[in-house]
Subunit: 375 residues, 4 copies
Amino acid sequence: MRRLRMAMIGGGPGSFIGPVHRIAAELDREIELVAGVFSSDPGRSRAAADIYRMDPARAYPDLTTMLSAERQRADAADFVAIVTPNHDHLPSARAALAAGFAVMSDKPMTATLEEAHALNAAVAAAGLPYALTYTYSGYPLVREARARVAAGTLGAVRKVVVEYPQGWLAGPATGKQAEWRVDPARAGAGGCIGDIGVHAFHLAEFVTGLKVTELLADLGTVVPGRLLDDDCSVLLRFEDVGFGAARGVLLASQIEVGELNGLSIRVYGEQGGLVWRQETPNELTLHHLDGRTEIVRAGTAALGPDAARRTRTPGGHPEGYLEAFANLYRDFAEVLRGGSAPLLPGAADGLRSMAFIDTAVRASASGTGWTALTV
Amino acid sequence: MRRLRMAMIGGGPGSFIGPVHRIAAELDREIELVAGVFSSDPGRSRAAADIYRMDPARAYPDLTTMLSAERQRADAADFVAIVTPNHDHLPSARAALAAGFAVMSDKPMTATLEEAHALNAAVAAAGLPYALTYTYSGYPLVREARARVAAGTLGAVRKVVVEYPQGWLAGPATGKQAEWRVDPARAGAGGCIGDIGVHAFHLAEFVTGLKVTELLADLGTVVPGRLLDDDCSVLLRFEDVGFGAARGVLLASQIEVGELNGLSIRVYGEQGGLVWRQETPNELTLHHLDGRTEIVRAGTAALGPDAARRTRTPGGHPEGYLEAFANLYRDFAEVLRGGSAPLLPGAADGLRSMAFIDTAVRASASGTGWTALTV
Amino acid sequence: MRRLRMAMIGGGPGSFIGPVHRIAAELDREIELVAGVFSSDPGRSRAAADIYRMDPARAYPDLTTMLSAERQRADAADFVAIVTPNHDHLPSARAALAAGFAVMSDKPMTATLEEAHALNAAVAAAGLPYALTYTYSGYPLVREARARVAAGTLGAVRKVVVEYPQGWLAGPATGKQAEWRVDPARAGAGGCIGDIGVHAFHLAEFVTGLKVTELLADLGTVVPGRLLDDDCSVLLRFEDVGFGAARGVLLASQIEVGELNGLSIRVYGEQGGLVWRQETPNELTLHHLDGRTEIVRAGTAALGPDAARRTRTPGGHPEGYLEAFANLYRDFAEVLRGGSAPLLPGAADGLRSMAFIDTAVRASASGTGWTALTV
Amino acid sequence: MRRLRMAMIGGGPGSFIGPVHRIAAELDREIELVAGVFSSDPGRSRAAADIYRMDPARAYPDLTTMLSAERQRADAADFVAIVTPNHDHLPSARAALAAGFAVMSDKPMTATLEEAHALNAAVAAAGLPYALTYTYSGYPLVREARARVAAGTLGAVRKVVVEYPQGWLAGPATGKQAEWRVDPARAGAGGCIGDIGVHAFHLAEFVTGLKVTELLADLGTVVPGRLLDDDCSVLLRFEDVGFGAARGVLLASQIEVGELNGLSIRVYGEQGGLVWRQETPNELTLHHLDGRTEIVRAGTAALGPDAARRTRTPGGHPEGYLEAFANLYRDFAEVLRGGSAPLLPGAADGLRSMAFIDTAVRASASGTGWTALTV
């Protein structure tokens, strides 16, 4: 069976996330990068062919050229990966879908909720696979956590605490990665809430299997002169599935000096609790009401089948961020080959996430009352 | 120099906190338990003399008897320790002060803010030492944290996250310890917020040296049939001392299954961050803006003088909760002997803490808008 | 029931272990310090009465005086605690026993194996309680570990790794605590091996319930000019109780810069493994052959009855070194009151420990061949 | 610049290490797998083409065929990767070198020391690049550790403790991975010592920059019926570079139930100490003589340039085993392109490692005296 072929949009010189998508896509040899528009600057796009050690003829100067050129090749790309800043997600995805290419997009779906609705419609109209890299849902132990909650290990969920502390934007935002994230024109209406808060939101819904129905938000801008939020506190209510509505707290910040990428989630139910931390991703703590505490470790027989299928090494050989990312591409490859990948985030997740950002921004602006999250 | 003499109010058979006060008071041999009214039931009070292996003649049937009897002894108690449920704190303290005894009270100061004002006035009128066991401020590394913030290590404080997860009230509240805590008549208007949220509040002000000026609270009652809150989320604003008002998040819960006593505090400023966790209390993490991370460990030369003075063993010999508690009694002994102990929580802390509980309860009841905290 | 009365030998100004014994003895109010010869210098001994806030009349100038004076009092001491350097353990214990006093001695039993035999005989002849503070066997989770091994949770024991790294003697030994430990005249033939290696040895036998039968030792002296070992590696063989002789490794060092008091023990059997670390003493890790890992935490229902009986606070309220030490005194008090305390280290443990030191020193001197450990 | 082309020997269906080499080689897109003899069974070799999604025409039936076929292609493989069991390393490497191919070999170099000398000579004669995947030397924080020692941060090295506990062979060895490792005909004279002890040995020399000069070994066979060692304790002496010979302890076991891949190294010098643990590989602990402890974390400015160059993600995005492995392939690619990679393990490391295994086996068999390690 041949490898699937990926064309990338974005990811040129200086990109962090472009190489991450490339590594993740190719990790399991299901997929190969073959083409790309790596930059809006044609010269920089061509230069990227060297970075990726690929055929320079397929490093295109612009998206239109790429899409039409690739369509005519016998060995055409099977899908495009979009790794540009947020404001470009909609136009690139729309064009790719219109040209008949499946799409794997970096999160968030788009820059605004309105755009997300438009893209959602385009995805539906195209009838093509569309997925989003909510990376943290690719970690095996996150999938284990989800499976344990779904199996009723915790009983009815009562409380969720999801935290995402970072510190790298505690000072003035300098450098390619920082600059676009603090620019409303490129990032959208949410700063920290859209960059990392949305990961926390997705993780909370992913692990619990519950939808957030309303929220209360306090989005702050701490660094002088910054235009978007960089420190966010959000209270959540989840849908009531018959045992009372679970409560939640979502904290995200980019000004907490010394915090690197400290995403964690804790879920508590009537019968138990669980804790997962991204920086030590290969273990999951499970508390039981009778006082027992278990550590479920990757690569051991304690792991359920879904999680086990997404590990590549024996226990004690740490897998990390790139491998979690690769699990999403493995899911996507299964979809492209006609299979299914029910855990892979898609347009519906993207739309909910954009609704979350939009609702949080509105709720905060309006004085932090409870605001419904609907989509 | 002789040992100071303590009379206890409360702490009879089945008490958790009575023996803790006794151990803490006597740990450094500055103080000796000599008398007590250990229960409102005279028989049980007498029985406690056995538990404490003390002179049964000084296990009194009621407070009035004890105060008058002790006043007449040459070897009279030097102070009383109040370890009863919250609703008794005011009457006992008032009576003791009126009889000329200094008071060490378990927290919170009283059951209601109104009572706290009354007691505050009584303390002022009596002119006698009065202190409160906000235990966690007795940990050496908490004092180190405070010293580092005060020294400017973090720069201007921007963000505080203080969390206090417990799980022991996730089911029906049974047993002596649980029952009074969930009974408004004995605990006051706050459940979890008054039992542990107030510790988190005190810790946040203690470490940062900043006052909370307003808050937004969402106090929930999760366990069916419970009358008081058992799961609390509070957003905080601190006073602006010239660099913008720091933001805070205070989480406290007693329904998070598997959490034991997971109090932690994280403080972030312009120049650094710090993390302290009560369950591993002998170390403090310090992050610096330049990317360095330090672990300050008890018993090493990295510890400042104030913290070092409150440790009893060399590094690597864990000290814990009882030793932290004992540090408050050591402070109190210094005050009783005419010295000073600026870090020992007193009536002002008690009043602020009661105002915190009262404000949080009101804010939550009124729909979670921002509410000023004044005292 | 009255408190038992303790007289201390040693523990004067500058002592670390004297105050530790005092705190530990008094922690549960079973025992009270009433008398002592705190120093071989009568003036310093008297000065200690102030430190301990006790009756100066009972701070005696020498041991003979104390023993005869105390014998004549109605409120005589019930036992003596010996907290002097090693070379004094034998004469003090012998004199106390001869005068009719039970003895609680700091470890090791004596300075030499020959002395230990002599003291063992004296204990037997006196028919009085004699115990040794092998502190680490007082930790609740160590007792839990022992109980789990005894219950067969691990199956037949195959392997033991016990490590005791410290770093405080990495440079020249200065200060009261360091000086006597590196002086053969006061410490005996073993330096690090006698000071901390012996704790590791006792812990290994305590947790496994197995006797070491032979060993191979490499005792090094790393710091230039030092006369005793400061870095020790010992291989162990345990008695064969029917499943093959378990193997062991014992590492102890005082020159590992940055290590504080890093005692740990790992035990592996056919069916499982366990890990305990002194610096995080309130949890025990249990591994099962089927891939499950459990964390047993103090203060939870997962704890067995023996361990639970030796904790004083609810889960999550850390207890540490002083509380572990106090558990030995609580055991001792039970013995003095006519009960039994099968886990309390006594003369047999002391003798084995001295045989360990002696065997290790001889084995190392003779070129690191396997040497039988007999007693 | 084109990708380098790799041909693999071994790594067919059921292989663990074959896919690891493939992922590692391709991770940075410097290298591409193009050919292979994946099994000694031609049918299985062909079947592997599917696993690797590669051209079935280049899945060869045997090594001779592959080497001659590849030599004649314009797009010939640039090197071979050998991932077979130990006994095949010599013949495969010799044949590949003779045919003009550079070699990347899985460790250990060969099955016996004699073979290693032969291969070493063959490498020298061929004048072609030859490297070995001592994986753990590829971790960025291990390279940081080496750099810190080399820079004198610890002062003169005095003590090394390297431990490698595993538990997966605690029962009967079943499955492809286990079976050859316990078979002397395929694994060589060392079991655990050759499988993982040798990693620990290499790591110790790599981090300290010091050669082991003699050792004392106790290799045990714990599981009944097993023919090779499965539990190893080795004492080490390092070369004296002017400050006295450092001492070392190397522990490796495969019968410690619950241990996954717990490799760790601790190095102590006159001025400091360091600790690194493979299961939490992205941080390095540094202790300083003045009592300060630092945590150096991947992705922060605290990391030196060599280590920083071998990370691919920002701080807090965990990298693990595959990424460390990929660092060795990145080094190897630099060598193949004419550059240098001084940290990449080569024939000299391989020879020393085989001498270590050989010496340890001989030393243990001869009764655990000190035995010189020479090469």
